[in-house]
Amino acid sequence: MSGRTHPPILPPQVRIKTFEPYAENLDDRMALYEASRCITCYEPPCKEACPTHIDIPEFIHRIKSGNYYGAAKVIRQSNIFGGECAYVCPVERLCEEKCVRNSLKDEPVAISLLQRFAFEKERKKGIIKFEKAPPKKKKVAVVGAGPAGLSAAYELARKGYKVTVFDSNPKAGGLMLYGILPWKASWEVAESEIKNILDYGIEFVPNKKVSDLKALLKEYGAVFIGAGTSKSAKLGIEGEDLKGVYPAQDFLYDVAKHLQKKGKAPDLKGKRVAIIGGGDTAIDASMASLRLGAERVYIIYRRSLAEMPAVPYGRKQAKEEGVEFLLLSSPVRIHGKNGAVAAIECVKMALGEPDQSGRRAVTPIKGSEFKMDIDVVIVAVGQKPDQEALKSFGLKLKNGLIETDNKFATSIKGVFAGGDVVNGGETVVKATAEGKLAAESIDQFLKGGSK
């Protein structure tokens, strides 16, 4: 059987000179070929694996028939961030992992590339608009203009509610504009989709940090919180407060602001950077460090490659660009000199049996400590919501996240929440799906139906 299409990618030494996208999209000919690889399964696992359940065989069929706009419509019907997701989804553990072609000893259909293709055709023509229900009197407030909040706002606006979205940043978009860097998805992608959403008659209030939910509930019939996870988890080791240690979320935010000419990123020229963690954020931080001119970039991860949560595609890109992987190593101490990072001390780890979650436990190997001279440490061992903001809401929390029932309702009547602030930090597509489902619950609530 014919193999998967691999559009050209700029060589590593060229692409690390800028933050720009470096992978080409499919052209018409490649898209037809790739679309033809789809078996057009009936209710297939790829569709099931997508949190927004895009009808993947249907949109691919439409690309094959040359109905590109129709393909984009199928995607947008299920996922209002279908373009952004096409660029940033970790498809290797979602739709493409489940592609039936994998069982034919073949590579999966390049679903994300086909989705990008459909989106780019749509963007050129104008993003598809769907019908809106007649206006309702009731108003809904959305706190946080990330994918969860905007997805909920969009669904509610289409149902006729008057929606106001608040965000502490000057622009709507959340991590899509302040966390994801352009080589993954050009910001114009998210911006076009955000504009499309706001154009459904949604009011956006920038630079506004919401803390008083009670006051909001006086004016709005319901509130949706999609505040995201803007903070990084801490390592909890000695030296973490030294100058030159950056939480990954803050670091990526600073880089984004720097690129938007609204702030400053750390100067990493000629620096040795150690990134702690093995997730997609660690990979992003490593690639950003190279692009900021770092001389050596290490990813220090306590398990082996097999356990690494970052998707293989990202790992491959980072490795090609020169990021060095120190596996089965865990930092124990950051050494400082004159108040700034000077070295990192790690211990080698041994893999044990899988724990309840299926991941293999690790234990330090005594006496295996080693020390490396380092100038900068970026901590990417997990993310969490801004705890102060959460406390100000006065909602019931669980493990530092907002607790909700299965309909996204929080402990305060009329307040709903979804996305990273509830799930602890997942994906744009999961947040989009949760915003959409929460909007259904809010609609039921406002109609006086069962909560």
Binding site: L32, S36, T40, Y42, E43, P44, P45, V100, S103, L104
Partner: protein, 405 residues
């Protein structure tokens, strides 16, 4: 050492080194081209159709169309090209040169003239005397020529097949083959008419009249000649089933050999034509697409096939399947099988399920995303074969014989 199977075939008194001939078409436009084809290994060639010098011929720009899948995979090819523009004298000279260089190859002169017996008789005389081994009467070209009483105009009229075959036979010093058009109600009747008129062989099919497409941006029919078009002749893989049907019908109806034409691209296609009774095969479109060199695989593939199957000569397979072709009424209505899905091979794509559900007998059970293989409900299965044909996994769906009720 095992001896190689003999792939030479006999045809109207000649022995040809292999059953692969170039049909009368662009690849046999000139003597130089035919000589190159012979050098590449073709067993024979039919010249592009020669017409009397007084008959005008035009080449439209442009004159081809294509229907494909995916990239450039050819399904159908269309042409609205006419016969050879070259003077009879040129052909006479080149025929002599070809035969001198390649005396053992089968060289067939293809002829066409207006439906006047004298013209056919004269042309047959001149070309046969030039040294060709056989003549082929082009009663098949379905575009352009029929509007002026030639090509399929003759092939669609039994009385002209009769009189013009007889006229050509009068003029010819060599065996005469009649090339038939599939654009008739009963091609077997036309073949019998040619046989009765004295034809030594038939060849079929000429191209199938069609319309390859319309450009939906410009509204032009294809191929476009300054925005307009006409119906043209279809060839290529898509016409093979039509060609096979016609050749089988002719083989069943006549006692003279039939040269099989229509959509032959590979040795497998050729084997199929030989099995249903073709004495040899003629190829054009596949050569236009990839060149004379394809004969290398045609010859080698056929030889290996015969060897694998234990045949000593290609003659053993000619017509082997023909007795198995019968009428619908004579097929066994009591024969019963049901589809069987191999649980281990099933990839759970649901393609068989949805086809059977919407276009069959609702006889397949499938629950998406449960990890369970599709399963046939043998009570409901009517063995139509839709699932078997649409399943993307080779060998996953097979037939199971069930007892007659």
């Amino acid at each position: 050492m095992v001896s190689k199977p003999d792939i030479s075939v006999k045809f109207c008194g000649y022995e040809i080194e292999n059953p692969f001939l170039l049909s009368s078409a662009p690849p046999t436009c000139t003597g130089e081209m035919i000589q190159r084809a012979f050098k590449a290994g073709w067993g024979g060639a039919v010249t592009k159709t020669i017409k009397p010098d007084k008959t005008p011929v035009y080449d439209l720009k442009n004159r081809f169309g294509r229907m494909g899948i995916e990239d450039k995979q050819l399904v159908l090819f269309e042409n609205i090209e006419e016969v050879s523009k070259r003077p009879v004298g040129t052909w006479v000279k080149e025929i002599k040169e070809i035969k001198k260089a390649f005396p053992d190859k089968l060289l067939v002169g293809s002829l066409m003239a207006e439906p006047k017996e004298d013209d056919w008789e004269d042309l047959a005389r001149v070309i046969s005397e030039a040294g060709v081994d056989m003549l082929e009467l082009n009663f098949g070209c379905p575009h352009g020529m029929p509007e002026r009483g030639m090509g399929a105009f003759c092939g669609q009229r039994p009385e002209l097949i009769d009189s013009l075959t007889k006229a050509a036979k009068r003029g010819s010093t060599v065996p005469v083959m009649v090339k038939l058009t599939p654009n008739v109600t009963d091609i077997a009747y036309m073949a019998k008419t040619a046989e009765k008129a004295g034809a030594d062989a038939t060849s079929a099919i000429n191209t199938v009249l069609g319309l390859i497409g319309v450009n939906i941006d410009t509204f032009e029919p294809m191929p476009s000649v300054d925005g307009k078009s006409t119906f043209g002749g279809m060839s290529g893989p898509g016409v093979k089933p039509i060609g096979m049907r016609c050749v089988a019908q002719i083989a069943q109806a006549t006692n003279i050999p039939v040269s099989g034409i229509g959509g032959i691209s590979t040795w497998k296609d050729a084997v199929e034509y030989l099995l249903i009774g073709a004495a040899n095969v003629q190829v054009c479109t596949a050569v236009m697409w990839r060149g004379y060199r394809i004969v290398g695989d045609l010859v080698d593939g056929l030889t290996n096939y015969l060897s694998d199957k234990g045949f000593k000569s290609v003659n053993e397979i000619i017509g082997k399947t023909l007795p198995r072709l019968t009428s619908w009424s004579k097929l066994d209505k009591d024969w019963k099988v049901v589809a069987n899905i191999d649980k281990d091979k099933c990839i759970k794509c649901g393609v068989c399920y949805i086809g059977c559900y919407d276009g069959g007998y609702q006889a397949i059970k499938f629950e998406p995303n449960t990890g369970k293989a599709a399963e046939v409900d043998e009570e409901k299965c009517d063995a139509c074969s839709l699932c078997y044909l649409s399943c993307p996994v080779p060998g996953c769906i097979t037939w199971k014989r069930v007892q007659q009720k």
